[in-house]
Amino acid sequence: MKTILVVEDDKNQLLLYEQELSIEGYNVIMAKDGQEAVRKVKEQMPDLIVMDINMPKMNGIESINSILSDHRKIPIIINTAYSSYKDNFMSWSANAYIIKSSDLRELKSKIKELIG
C-alpha cells in the first residue's frame, strides 16, 4: 500500500483528505505544518506528499526545499487556495500544482498518475 503524506494546517480539511484518499486505497499520514512534515518524511518515507503552501511555523516552500535536499525522489503535489503561484511551481521542483477545490477528482487523478 502506497503511503501519502498530507501536509495541511486546516484540521477539517486534513480529515477530508484522510477519508477520501483512504477510500482510494492509500495509507494516509498527516502533518499540521512544515516542521512536522519534515520529521514525518524522515520517519515514515511516504511515496508522495500533498502539500499546502500557506502554513504556520514552516511554510510549504521551505518544507519542500528541506525535504528535497534529503529525499530528492519523493513526488510532491502542491495543493493550495492560491492560484497566483501556479507559474512558479516548477521552479520549486514540485511535480504538480492543484488549486484547492471541493471536487477532489483532479487531485486523485494526479496522485494516480504519479504513484499509481
Partner: protein, 567 residues
C-alpha cells in the same frame, strides 16, 4: 440776398473760395427745394445729376421723416445754425460720413428767406476714429478669448468686417516650428463677386455693432467654402525663403504687393492661390517670434489698399498676435491639466485595483479552504451507498452551491493575479474568428444572428493573443447575455486613427447612463450571478496594451463596445 450775390460777378470768386475748402454747398428755399448747388456737393453725395430743383430730402437722404429733428427745419424756424452728421451708404457697402452745417439766410429786414447748407466729407477722419475705438474693443474681446479657433476666427472677421478693417478677404497662416512649416489655417471672405455683394449688403443692413457682426460671422462660419478649403491646402517649408509668407515670417515685416501679377519674384503658384494683384501680408509677432501671417486683399471691391489701412492693421496685428499667444499658452495649460487628470485617474484606478486585488486574494484564500472542506464532505456523503433520498438531495444542493461559490472565487482570483502580457505579432481578425467559432454553439442556443464585418486589410499588431481573446470573449458573452430573446451580434474590425478598432455591438437591452459610468469598476455587476470582474479585467488588459475601450449604449436599442488597439 446770397442768391443775388451768387448771380453777380463775384460769383466766380466766391465759388473758387468754396471749392478751395472742398465743401459742398447748396441753397434751399423755404419749401426745402434746392435752388442752387455747387459741383462738389454732387461729388460728396455721389449724385451724378443736376441737383437744382430737387427737394432737400431727395438729395441729402437724411432722416427727414423725423420732422422734429430735421436740422434744416430747425434752422429755418429757430434762426440758428445747425450741425449734423449723416452716413451715406454707397455702392458695395462703402460708407461715407458727411458733416452738414445748415445756416439761415436773412433778407435786409432780417427775415429768414433761404437756407445755406454746407457739407463736408469727413469719412477719413470718422473712419480713423471708428477704427481706433474698434481696435480698442477688439483688443478687449481678443484678450478675453482663450479658445484658439474661436479667437482666430474673431481676428479674421475683424480684418474683413466692413465696420472693421474692411478687407474683402483674409487668410490666416500659422507657423508650426516642430514641422518647420507655415500652413493655411483658415480664411474668411466671399468666393465670388456676387457673394461679396450679397454679404456686404447683408452686413450693412443687419449689423450696426461690431459685436453683433462677430457673433453673426461666427454662427455663419463655414469650413466648406472654396476660399477656406484652398487656404487649408497651402503649406510652405520655412526653409523656402522665396515664398511670400515665409519671407514675411523670417523678415518680420509687412509685405505690401501692389502688382503681384507682374512681379517675377513672386512664385506663380502662390499668386494663383491668392488670385489678387494687390495684397498685404502682415506678420503676427509675439515675444519677438513670428507665430503666423495674415494675408489680405480687396479682390472684389478693387479698392486700393491705403497707407492708413496698413497702419491700423499693424496695431491690430500686434494685439492679435498677443492674443493668439495667450490662447495657445492657455491651450497648452489645458492639455497639461487634462493629462494630469488622466494620470491621476489612472493612478487612483490602479491603486484601487491593487488594493482590491490584495484584499480579493486574501478573502478568496480564506474562503476557499473551508469551502473546499464543506463541498468535499458533501461529495463524500453522496458516495455513501443507500443514503435516503432527502439526504442525497440536500447534499447535492450543498455541492452545487459550493461549486458556484468556487467559480466566483476563481474569477476573482484571476482578476487579482498579476499577469504580464506575452505579446507577439498577431492578426486580430484571426483572434476574433477563433473566439466566434468557440462560441458558435452558444450563439445557436441563444438564437443570436452573427454579423461579421472584418476588414481583411488589417495589419498584424503586437498583442497578447490569449488576453485579447479573453477580452473579446468577455464582451461577446455580455453582448449575448443582453439579448435574452435573441438578436443580432455585429462584430466589426477596421482601422481608425492609427488604431485597430474592434466593434462588438448587440441589439439588446442597452444600459442607463448610471450603469455605463460603472461598468469598468471592479465587482460592479448587474447580473444575478455576475462577479463584476469581466469588464474590469478587459479594461485592464486593453490598457496594458496601451489601448482603450469606448462604449455607446441606448436603452432598448443596444450597446456597442469599441476596443482600440494601437498599430
Amino acid at each position: 440776398m446770397l442768391s443775388s450775390i451768387l448771380k453777380d460777378k463775384s460769383y466766380n470768386i466766391l465759388n473758387n473760395i468754396v471749392d478751395a475748402f472742398d465743401a459742398g454747398l447748396s441753397i434751399l428755399d423755404k419749401d426745402l427745394n434746392i435752388i442752387w448747388s455747387n459741383k462738389i456737393l454732387s461729388g460728396i453725395l455721389n449724385l451724378e445729376y443736376d441737383l437744382t430743383g430737387k427737394t432737400c430730402c431727395e438729395v441729402y437722404k437724411c432722416e427727414c421723416q423725423d420732422t422734429k429733428n430735421c436740422s434744416v427745419l430747425k434752422a429755418l424756424s429757430g434762426g440758428k445754425k445747425q450741425f449734423t452728421e449723416t452716413r451715406l451708404i454707397i455702392d458695395r457697402g462703402e460708407r461715407k460720413y458727411i458733416r452738414h452745417i445748415s445756416a439761415p439766410v436773412r433778407d435786409e429786414k432780417g427775415n429768414i428767406t433761404q437756407l445755406l447748407k454746407l457739407s463736408l466729407d469727413i469719412t477719413e477722419r470718422e473712419e480713423k476714429v471708428r477704427q481706433l475705438s474698434l481696435l480698442g474693443k477688439l483688443a478687449e474681446l481678443m484678450q478675453g478669448t482663450l479658445q484658439i479657433d474661436h479667437l482666430l476666427h474673431l481676428i479674421l472677421t475683424c480684418v474683413t468686417a466692413g465696420t472693421g478693417l474692411g478687407f474683402n478677404r483674409a487668410r490666416l497662416f500659422l507657423v508650426d516650428r516642430e514641422r518647420n512649416i507655415i500652413y493655411g489655417k483658415m480664411a474668411v471672405g466671399p468666393s465670388s463677386t456676387e457673394e461679396a455683394h450679397k454679404i456686404w449688403d447683408e452686413i450693412v443692413n443687419k449689423y450696426e455693432k461690431l459685436e453683433d457682426l462677430i457673433k453673426a460671422a461666427e454662427d455663419n462660419y463655414r469650413e466648406d467654402t472654396p476660399l477656406h478649403m484652398i487656404t487649408r491646402l497651402m503649406a510652405y517649408s520655412l526653409r523656402d525663403e522665396n515664398e511670400v509668407v515665409v519671407s514675411c515670417v523670417k523678415n518680420k515685416k509687412i509685405i505690401w504687393e501692389r502688382n503681384a501679377f507682374h512681379n517675377p519674384n513672386i512664385d506663380k503658384k502662390f499668386i494663383d492661390m491668392i488670385g489678387a494683384n494687390e495684397f498685404v501680408c502682415i506678420p503676427l509677432i509675439a515675444k519677438d517670434e513670428t507665430i503666423g501671417v495674415i494675408c489680405m486683399d480687396n479682390l472684389y471691391s478693387k479698392k486700393p489698399i491705403t497707407e492708413e489701412r496698413i497702419q491700423s492693421l499693424t496695431i491690430f496685428a500686434s494685439r492679435a498676435a498677443l492674443a493668439i499667444e495667450n490662447a495657445a499658452a492657455y491651450k497648452k495649460l489645458e492639455e497639461k491639466i487634462q493629462q494630469l487628470k488622466e494620470t491621476q485617474e489612472r493612478l487612483i484606478r490602479s491603486e484601487r485595483l491593487s488594493v482590491i486585488g490584495n484584499m480579493a486574494t486574501y478573502v478568496a484564500h480564506e474562503i476557499r479552504n473551508p469551502l473546499a472542506t464543506v463541498g468535499g464532505f458533501a461529495r463524500a456523503i453522496l458516495r455513501v451507498p443507500n443514503i435516503d433520498k432527502q439526504t442525497r438531495q440536500n447534499a447535492e444542493i450543498i455541492v452545487e452551491e459550493v461549486s458556484r461559490l468556487e467559480r466566483i472565487l476563481a474569477n476573482i482570483m484571476d482578476f487579482s493575479k498579476p499577469v504580464e502580457p506575452v505579446k507577439m505579432a498577431s492578426q486580430i481578425n484571426e483572434i476574433l474568428e477563433n473566439t466566434c467559432s468557440l462560441m458558435d454553439p452558444y450563439f445557436r442556443n441563444s438564437r443570436i444572428r452573427l454579423n461579421k464585418k472584418l476588414d481583411t486589410s488589417l495589419p498584424k499588431i503586437v498583442v497578447d493573443p490569449t488576453q485579447i481573446k479573453q477580452v473579446c470573449l468577455n464582451l461577446i458573452k455580455n453582448a449575448v447575455e443582453s439579448m435574452p430573446d435573441g438578436g443580432t451580434l455585429t462584430i466589426e474590425t477596421m482601422m481608425e486613427n492609427g488604431h485597430i478598432k474592434i466593434n462588438i455591438a448587440d441589439t439588446g437591452e442597452g444600459m442607463t447612463t448610471e450603469i455605463m459610468q460603472n461598468i469598468f469598476v471592479p465587482f460592479f455587476t448587474t447580473k444575478v450571478d455576475g462577479t463584476g470582474v469581466g469588464l474590469a479585467v478587459s479594461h485592464k488588459i486593453v490598457e496594458d496594451h496601451q489601448g482603450y475601450i469606448k462604449v455607446r449604449s441606448l436603452l432598448q436599442e443596444g450597446t456597442t463596445f469599441s476596443i482600440f488597439l494601437p498599430i
